[in-house]
């Protein structure tokens, strides 16, 4: 018992020492840097204020109101995304031992678009309603496997406009199968069922021969891998459409009720609204988005296998992306997916050769973000930008 007390004392001392260090860093480094940014960005805010006023009057009802600087930030981001096929062809990076090198990051950018769809799909259900799903890879994987089975069993020449709607429909059916029994329950039970659903689907891929076992099913790519430019835009455009649609949804009454369910479900019931109905709606919408994402991923690869599509790690990665960007912020989840994916495929690649170590470092970073910035990077950034424009913190 005395050793236990000793461990406690050491830990307590370490934690108080750590908070002291953080305080010093904040006072001497972060705050002055923040002031410099405030000083530099204030003119930008003023320049964009008239445009922001127009935006708030016309689109504010659907997309939410912004300050000048926030609008400038959104516009810059979208401009960067829209021109990604051009500047992504060669960015300059620093590799230890090699010096400055040119990198083509259009492939990671293209895949980040798909994962952004997944992260937003997870966010609109789990992030907004607070019913955390660990099983969203079942939905995207269900859509992917439907496409692959159709191509393998019916005809390998089925066009996308036939397979895609059926696959999205399959995702919705799977979603309803999970949601109808489990969303009547409160608390952690829902998460348990979704977690078990992933394990079950993973097992099913091995139990049924039609699903191809652990080797998976081979298919022909719809989007050719050779042309990075076209592939990026073919994946970016659906992603942007989904981002806009989900943002509108999250700012509508539906989004409000989803948030209310997360904050206080009893209050939602007391207001005469059936929370179960809206929880199922959110899951349904999420299933559609996940289905579309699954179809997008299937179109860009040549093999549908359990490791790439179903395994629980995939669900956790979606969650990690949404967490990095900010839970319950559709666009934050989108940004989080890009940050996560570019960190994983580009930035950490430069420093760490070992794939597993790279992921380990990445997931530890996500845990740190959860502990120290649980609102997510993009939500923090968004409010900081708003403060410069005079918005209340």
């Amino acid at each position: 018992m005395s050793s236990l007390t000793l461990i406690f004392t050491v830990l307590a001392a370490a934690s108080s020492r750590a908070s002291e260090v953080f305080g010093t860093i904040r006072r001497t480094i972060l705050t002055p840097i923040g002031r410099v940014f405030d000083f530099l960005l204030a003119p930008v805010d003023r320049a964009f204020r008239p445009l922001a006023k127009v935006f708030n009057r016309t689109l504010g009802k659907f997309l939410g109101t912004v300050t000048g600087l926030q609008l400038a930030f959104v516009l810059t981001t979208f401009l960067l995304l829209l021109t990604g096929g051009i500047w992504g062809a060669s960015i300059i990076a620093f590799e230890p031992g090699e010096g400055l090198i040119a990198l083509d990051i259009r492939r990671p950018l293209a895949y980040a678009c798909i994962w952004a769809v997944f992260a937003m799909g997870w966010d609109i259900q789990s992030g907004y309603t607070g019913y955390i799903s660990f099983g969203h890879s079942v939905l995207s994987g269900g859509a992917a496997y439907t496409t692959a089975v159709l191509l393998n069993e019916v005809s390998s020449t089925l066009p996308l406009y036939v397979t895609a709607p059926i696959s999205v429909f399959a995702a919705v059916v799977i979603g309803l199968l999970i949601a109808l029994p489990s969303l009547r329950l409160q608390g952690p039970y829902f998460s348990l069922i979704t977690f078990a659903a992933v394990l079950l689907f993973f097992q099913a891929t091995r139990a049924f021969d039609i699903l191809g076992g652990s080797a998976g099913l081979r298919i022909t790519r719809v989007i050719p891998a050779a042309d990075s430019f076209t592939r990026y835009y073919l994946l970016l455009i659906p992603m942007l459409l989904i981002a806009v649609a989900l943002t509108v949804l999250s700012r509508s009454n539906y989004g409000l009720i989803f948030t209310a369910i997360r904050e206080n479900e009893d209050a939602v019931s007391a207001a005469g609204i059936n929370p179960t109905k809206f929880k199922i709606w959110s899951f349904l919408i999420s299933s559609i988005v996940m289905g579309i994402g699954g179809v997008m991923l299937t179109a860009a690869v040549s093999n549908v296998d359990p490791t790439q599509f179903v395994q629980v790690d995939r669900s956790i990665e979606m969650i990690a992306m949404a967490v990095v960007g900010g839970i319950a912020t559709v666009l934050g989840a989108m940004g989080g997916a890009f940050v996560f994916f570019l960190l994983k495929e580009v930035v950490l690649n430069l420093f760490i050769d070992e794939a597993a170590l790279r992921l380990f470092v990445l997931f530890l970073l996500v845990v740190l973000i959860l502990v120290f910035a649980r609102d997510g990077l993009f939500r923090k950034l968004w409010h900081r930008l708003g403060q410069i424009g005079g918005e209340e913190p």
């Binding site: 597993a356 996500v366 845990v367």
Partner: protein
Amino acid sequence: MIGAIATAIIQATLVSAVYALIAIGFTMIFGVAGVLNLAHGALLMAGAYVYGIVVMRNIVPSMTYHPAVGVIAGIVVVAILSLLLYELLVRWVEDNVVITFLSTVILAVASTEFLVWIFGGQNIRISLIEGQFALANARVAYYEAIGFAVSWIAIALLWFYVTQTDDGRSILATSMSERGAQLTGVNIRMVRAKTWIIAGALAGLGGMFLGFDSGLSPLMWLNPLAVAFIAVVVGGIGSIKGSVAGAYLIGFIEQITVELIGNGFRGMPTLILLVGFLLFMPQGLFGREFAHE
């Protein structure tokens, strides 16, 4: 036919004993701290790997200690890891259920990647002692019999500790009413730390016996975590007695499924059981023992 049934029953009993070890720690942490620790599977995995490192020649050639040393090392190391998990991570986020959920599960995935990095993704065999004996037509490996005995010894010790000593009763009291326990002078912080240590020790023990059965692999945390979940829901969240009963129920249903349908369908009937319990009996079999405020 009779022989096959006897074999199945014996196998199921042996498997269930290990499941019980896995589920108890998970349920205790939920009962006392109100935290669903999704990194529980990672703790199990840590136990198995520590044993492998200390004892097996094929992992670290210079370390080949006696298996007993390995078992003790596994228990102690995982107990410490469990305490560190609480002190360094869970304590800072436990006010928010969603963040606790997410951070523990992401930590579990991070531990998988860590093990892939250090040991590679392949399955590594570990063993306690070789050999087997016959019991009513069934072949029982020595390690399975030891696992069964160890499981019940651990349960008995835990029962004695929680019901017969003041120290243990403070844990029980905290799980029933944190406020009440605090008013009678129980140090809640210490109780929580003890709970995490005990849960870690049990997880380390259970993890080792899982490892003897199916080897070490970086994804070995997944299925046991699902088993712990289901056992806890079936038995009633927070109830130790219930989680033991739940573990045995799952072990038997799995074994029957494997015998009658095939190994590929191992998890499916238990999932149906889970959904059934959630819908019609969400409090579980013994749900009232550890009532949480």
